[in-house]
């Protein structure tokens, strides 16, 4: 099996990578680029722990082959922090106790980011829909929803 060369723009940085035919975006991000915020959970697109933003949309990185996305833009949670300052979403997750074990958090943040990028004024229902593909077994979701709501309220001014 011959390897495939792809160019990705990961968190704003150009990366030229060699991947195998069955390498998933999840594997490339974690193993080749050392972006460990991207969590490996169910591997079948159900838990959302591996969620990243691909060309502006939240996707499960376990269901994308890296060979498929030559030239695409990928954003992971590592992109949120800016010069030592947490992103408002990250700060809100802390303030609202929306993190317990933390395993789902990075995927949850990327789903929330994808929502706010598209709709800075989401309803509570919009927020619930946006995170319906992210499973969390400890917070019970309420704190997560409140955290996201608080950021959208700040955006609203």
């Amino acid at each position: 099996m011959k390897n495939i060369v792809v160019t990705l723009f990961v968190n704003g940085k150009k990366e030229v990578l060699e991947v195998t035919s069955k390498e998933r975006l999840l594997d490339t991000l974690r193993d080749q680029l050392n972006l460990k915020s991207v969590k490996e959970g169910c591997d079948v697109g159900e838990c959302g722990a591996c969620t990243v933003i691909l060309n502006g949309q939240a996707v499960n990185s376990c269901l994308v082959l890296t060979a498929q996305i030559d030239g695409y833009e990928v954003y992971t949670t590592e992109s949120l922090e800016n010069k030592g300052n947490l992103h408002p979403l990250q700060q809100a997750f802390i303030d609202y106790h929306a993190i317990q074990c933390g395993f789902c958090t990075t995927g949850m943040l990327m789903s929330a980011k994808a929502l706010l990028d598209k709709n800075s004024n989401p309803s509570r229902e919009d927020i619930k829909t946006a995170i319906e593909g992210n499973l969390c077994r400890c917070t019970g979701y309420e704190q997560i929803i409140q955290a996201i709501e608080s950021v959208s309220k700040k955006v609203k001014g």
Binding site: M1, D43, V59, N60, Q68, S111, E132
Partner: protein
């Protein structure tokens, strides 16, 4: 261990060439079904040596409106269907069905062509496409043909698509305004639910005489593959509102299911549940 060579098609011609020249290949569109099967090493995959990626063929991603039909490119994602003003105007039940699929992540990647060609008994877009009389355009190296979706799906996970054929569009005839549609689904949780049961129906409604003139009904996950329940349709067609006995009809839909599937372990659940969603669909359709 599943091993395969990855081939990337940039346009329709290249995809068809690959399919013609590389036997034992799988088409990769959104990947939301295929990559799950590969990960689980599902026996359903059979033998294959090549994956032909069509996910970047932009000419297969469109929603176009013509005088009599709407044409949908097979790489149109569920999110695009949900957000399309054309789909919401002419076939709202298709947008409603797309909304019930998976999660935002899945809807952003999964495609209508993938949903159709995977031919899962629980595919959420197939019952709506069937009641809408959708037709598929299939192209191969030296042929082009049109197949009604009713004839395309021939068994659970089985279609009449030949190995070298590519779905190049899905055509849906526009309906006159007296048609109304409805879609129902039962799953175990709100998101990511693979349908335990779903139901699509459309009906031509004569508001003045309070009468149903034409009705098409397709349940999903009720039979080995979705198909029209024609006996039930005949029970309803031509009846006025007050001639409709929903209890009787919900009994009938269960009987028609059993006449196709026989009694199964799931029948004691599915029979009343299917009757229940039929009632709900009819009530919503007629605003009872």
């Amino acid at each position: 261990m599943i091993e395969f060579e990855f081939l990337s098609a940039k346009n329709i011609e290249e995809a068809i060439n690959y399919m013609h020249n590389y036997k034992l290949s799988k088409l990769l569109a959104g990947g939301t079904d295929l990559l799950v099967d590969i990960h689980k090493e599902s026996p359903r995959l059979g033998e294959f040596s090549y994956v032909i990626d069509i996910s970047n063929i932009e000419e297969l991603r469109f929603i176009k409106e013509y005088e009599d039909i709407v044409e949908i490119g097979p790489l149109t994602t569920h999110t695009m269907l949900i957000e399309s003003p054309i789909i919401n105007k002419y076939f709202p039940l298709l947008a409603i069905a797309a909304k019930t699929i998976g999660s935002p992540q899945i809807r952003n990647r999964g495609t209508i062509g993938g949903n159709i060609s995977n031919a899962s008994p629980a595919a959420d877009l197939v019952p709506p496409l069937m009641v809408l009389n959708a037709e598929l355009e299939l192209k191969s190296m030296d042929d082009k043909r049109f197949v009604p979706i009713e004839e395309f799906i021939v068994g659970p996970y089985k279609t009449s698509k030949k190995d070298d054929e590519l779905i190049t569009s899905i055509r849906i005839p526009k309906l006159d305004e007296s048609y109304k549609g409805n879609f129902q689904k039962i799953g175990r949780r709100q998101a990511l639910n693979i349908a335990r049961l779903n139901l699509a129906l459309i009906a031509k409604i004569d508001e003045a005489n309070k009468k149903i003139e034409d009705i098409r009904i397709v349940p999903g996950s009720a039979t080995p593959y979705p198909l029209r329940f024609k006996n039930l349709e005949r029970e309803i067609e031509g009846k006025t509102w007050n001639q409709l006995d929903l209890d009787y009809l919900s009994q009938k839909i269960g009987e028609e299911m059993i006449s196709i599937t026989g009694e199964r372990w799931s029948t004691p659940y599915k029979k009343p549940a299917l009757g229940g969603i039929l009632k709900k669909a009819m009530n919503e359709l007629l605003n009872f």
